[in-house]
């Protein structure tokens, strides 16, 4: 066991996999010599060699496309898209190719590709360094979408993603790379070392894709969240003073429907929290799923707390970011019904 922040945990996952499997290789913009703009690939080129962790041209479509070709060859590429906001040039290769090749070829070819990308707000990144595009992937058959919320989960989920034989979009909530930010931007930053989930085994371990984690048990209302919003949700529960059950989804596709349903059947109430713009966000799918599966248990409308339906505005970081107070308000409304 070692104490790691999320960057270190992700780095450790890559290191473990590069060490174990000669078919794993890591590449992307600035990930080689420099070690990535968020330092997640630091030291890997030096340790594992130039051809196993290297820089690429600034062409996200090309990065994903060559990774698909490598996957077809039999490698297990792990690529970094520098910011999720820059994944769109690769969108066609992801949704028309990576997601389709197993189906198209009836299993003759498949793409064991992991696409890591920092996402989400809270860092004054403005419109093009803050986006949360998960719903643009959850709608696409053939892709898994995963979001960790702690160093421990990050490493275990990333190893699972790399070992998975299907393409995985691995969204890294960059706001919590260094600490479990709970949305209280006016308070000092808490480092991961103060949090139990920073205890991370140094070797190989996995957290299965498709399994949620109940991070706080509660009886009054179910809160569904992922990424940074798990910590914000916990803070919102505290602020509202309600007995909320907070579920960290971890995987969005496949989603852990059993854990969700069991909780909502127990609480009869549900609040969904995400950073992405509200309309057609993944919260809509969650709301529909809960409603379909738990209709007769619901005692109050399911609420969504989400990013506003605008681009992410630089100076309005905290007015845009769905912080604990907005979560708390929704919780109060929900339990009062």
């Amino acid at each position: 066991m070692a104490t790691m922040n999320m960057i270190q945990a992700l780095n450790s996952a890559l290191d473990v996999m590069l060490t174990r499997d000669a078919n794993v290789l890591v590449f992307g913009e600035d990930v080689g010599y420099f070690g990535g703009v968020f330092r997640v690939t630091e030291g890997l080129q030096k340790k594992h060699g130039l051809t196993r962790c290297f820089d690429t041209p600034i062409g996200e479509a090309g990065i994903v496309a060559v990774a698909i070709g490598m996957g077809a060859y039999g490698l297990r590429p792990v690529v970094e898209i520098q910011f999720a906001d820059y994944i769109y040039p690769a969108y066609d290769q992801i949704v028309s190719e990576a997601a389709r090749i197993r189906y198209r070829s009836a299993g003759e070819f498949y793409v064991p590709l992991t696409i890591r990308t920092p996402y989400g707000g809270g860092i004054f990144g403005g419109q093009t360094h803050s986006q949360s595009p998960e719903a643009l992937f959850t709608h696409v058959a053939g892709i898994k979408t995963v979001v960790p919320s702690s160093p421990y989960d990050a490493k275990g989920l990333l190893i699972s993603a790399i070992e998975d034989n299907d393409p995985v979009i691995f969204l890294e909530p960059k706001r919590i790379y260094n600490g479990p930010f709970n949305g209280r931007h006016d308070q000092p930053v808490i480092p991961w070392s103060k949090h139990p989930a920073s205890e991370v085994p140094e070797g190989h371990y996995k957290i299965p894709l498709g399994k949620a984690s109940v991070v706080r048990e509660g009886a009054q209302v179910t809160v569904l969240a992922y990424g940074t919003m798990v910590h914000v949700a916990l803070e919102g529960v505290a602020e509202a003073g309600v007995d909320g059950e907070v579920i960290d989804l971890r995987s969005l596709v496949p989603v852990d429907i059993d854990t969700i349903v069991a909780s909502v059947e127990k609480t009869g109430r549900c609040v969904i929290v995400h950073e992405a713009t509200r309309t057609s966000g993944y919260g809509a799918e969650l709301s529909a799923l809960v409603q379909e599966n738990c209709f007769f248990h619901l005692e109050a409308p399911i609420e969504r707390v989400a990013g506003w339906d605008t681009p992410y505005p630089h100076a309005h970081e905290w007015a845009y970011f769905p912080g604990p107070s907005r979560v708390a308000e929704a919780l109060r409304r929900t339990v009062e019904v």
């Binding site: 041209p57 496309a65 490598m70 039999g74 189906y103 070819f109 496949p254």
Partner: protein, 410 residues
């Protein structure tokens, strides 16, 4: 402010439209044998002019001339002729099958057979190919069963793709033939990635890919070119310039002001332009590029200069946008006819043998078609079971797809 003229927008137009006389004046053709053949380890910067020329081996008398003559044995050439004729017969039948309602769609490769069949001979059997939708000849020439191809076209129960893909979207890992995509150009940078993987593993296999000249306009063309150049990937990137996309001529794709082969110059690797209707020339260029790739000298772009003899697909009617005699006016002829005449000139073939082979191919295709139709077509017979629709989305089917399958009761 200076007194400048008003600007005007240039829209490229082909030389001839329906009703006009077909014309290929722009295609100034250097004589066969006139283009030098550099060593395969040549520095790309010294052979830029090859991108603006045209490598030809068969001359007007169907003799093989010049430094690019690959000196193939008559046996190899007869075998190539066989596969070209097989492909044409196959195309002819499947086209008619679509017209008879037995399937939804078909795409012929008439006139372009040499552009991919030559690669089946020049490449190793396990070199990986990333084709577009018009390289069926390559698959036949690699020995893939024609019956299985027909089963794919008919989406019947024996289609290895389980009826999921449009007709002609074949896939065969065993034949190193990558699953064809309906999205244009996506396979070009994937081929580069496969080649990079082979180089990364210290393998000896190389990759090749094909796209149409229209498809070079996609961003993926640039990704392929750039990644191939940066990492010196052992890959052959082929642009089949058959003069037409669907209804738009190659000028709309960017072919008015330069050649497609010359795109390679800006990336610093060789761009060769070859008579795509000359089997020997295509073979020679493929062999050159393969040797270059295999010896770690990196990628080659090949422009295969040819003509799409038929409609784009069964959904197309070319008489709406080009003169109906345009194929006849094509100055580079028919690849089958040219190879046949070459072999006859060598006394290795005859009109009688040719007619007999034509008949043999027609019979083969007809018999195979009967077999395939005995299984089923899109309209009837044995079809893939609907339950298979839910398979292979992921390696393991997750709950939501399982639930949907249950809901459908299959």
């Amino acid at each position: 402010m200076k007194n400048t003229p008003t600007l005007s927008l240039h829209i490229p137009e082909p030389e001839a439209r329906p009703g006009d006389e077909a014309s290929f004046d722009r295609s100034a053709l250097p004589p066969a044998g006139s283009v030098p053949r550099p060593p395969t380890d040549v520095c790309a910067t010294t052979i830029r002019d090859l991108s603006f020329s045209l490598i030809r081996v068969l001359d007007e008398d169907f003799k093989a001339v010049g430094p690019w003559n690959p000196r193939l044995s008559p046996d190899v050439m007869r075998s190539a002729l066989r596969y070209m004729m097989m492909t044409r017969a196959y195309d002819e039948r499947m086209y008619r099958a679509q017209r008879q309602g037995k399937t939804s769609f078909y795409m012929k490769s008439t006139g372009e057979e040499a552009t991919n069949i030559a690669y089946a001979f020049a490449l190793h059997r396990d070199d990986m190919c990333f084709p577009a939708y018009r390289q069926q000849g390559l698959l036949l020439a690699r020995g893939y069963p024609m019956l299985t191809m027909m089963n794919q076209v008919y989406s019947n129960a024996h289609d290895p793709g389980k009826g999921r893909n449009l007709p002609v979207m074949y896939s065969s890992r065993e034949h190193s033939f990558f699953t064809i995509s309906g999205n244009l150009g996506t396979q070009f940078p994937q081929a580069v990635g496969w080649a990079m993987a082979s180089a990364y593993k210290g393998d000896t296999r190389i990759a090749a890919s094909w796209i149409g000249e229209g498809t070079t306009a996609e961003g993926d063309f640039h990704q392929a070119m750039n990644f191939a150049a940066v990492y010196r990937a052992p890959v052959i990137l082929n642009v089949v310039n058959n003069q037409w996309a669907i209804s738009s001529f190659q000028g709309i794709a960017g072919g008015e002001a330069s050649t497609f082969a010359s795109r390679a110059i800006g990336y610093g690797f060789p761009g060769l332009r070859v008579d795509g209707n000359d089997f020997l020339a295509v073979y020679a260029v493929a062999e050159w590029a393969a040797e270059r790739a295999r010896n770690n000298h990196g990628p080659t772009l090949v422009e295969l200069y040819t003509y799409r003899g038929e409609g784009h697909s069964t959904s197309d009617d070319p008489s709406r946008y080009r003169p109906s005699d345009e194929w006849k006016a094509w100055p580079l002829g028919d690849p089958i006819e040219r190879l046949k005449r070459h072999l006859i000139g060598l006394d290795e073939w005859s009109d009688e043998k040719h007619a007999a082979l034509g008949q043999e191919m027609a019979d083969l295709v007809r018999d195979t078609q009967k077999e395939a139709e005995a299984v089923g077509t899109l309209q009837g017979g044995e079809q893939p079971s609907p339950g298979t629709m839910f398979e292979d989305v992921f390696e393991e089917t997750p709950w939501h797809i399982r639930r949907q399958r249950q809901q459908m009761g299959v």
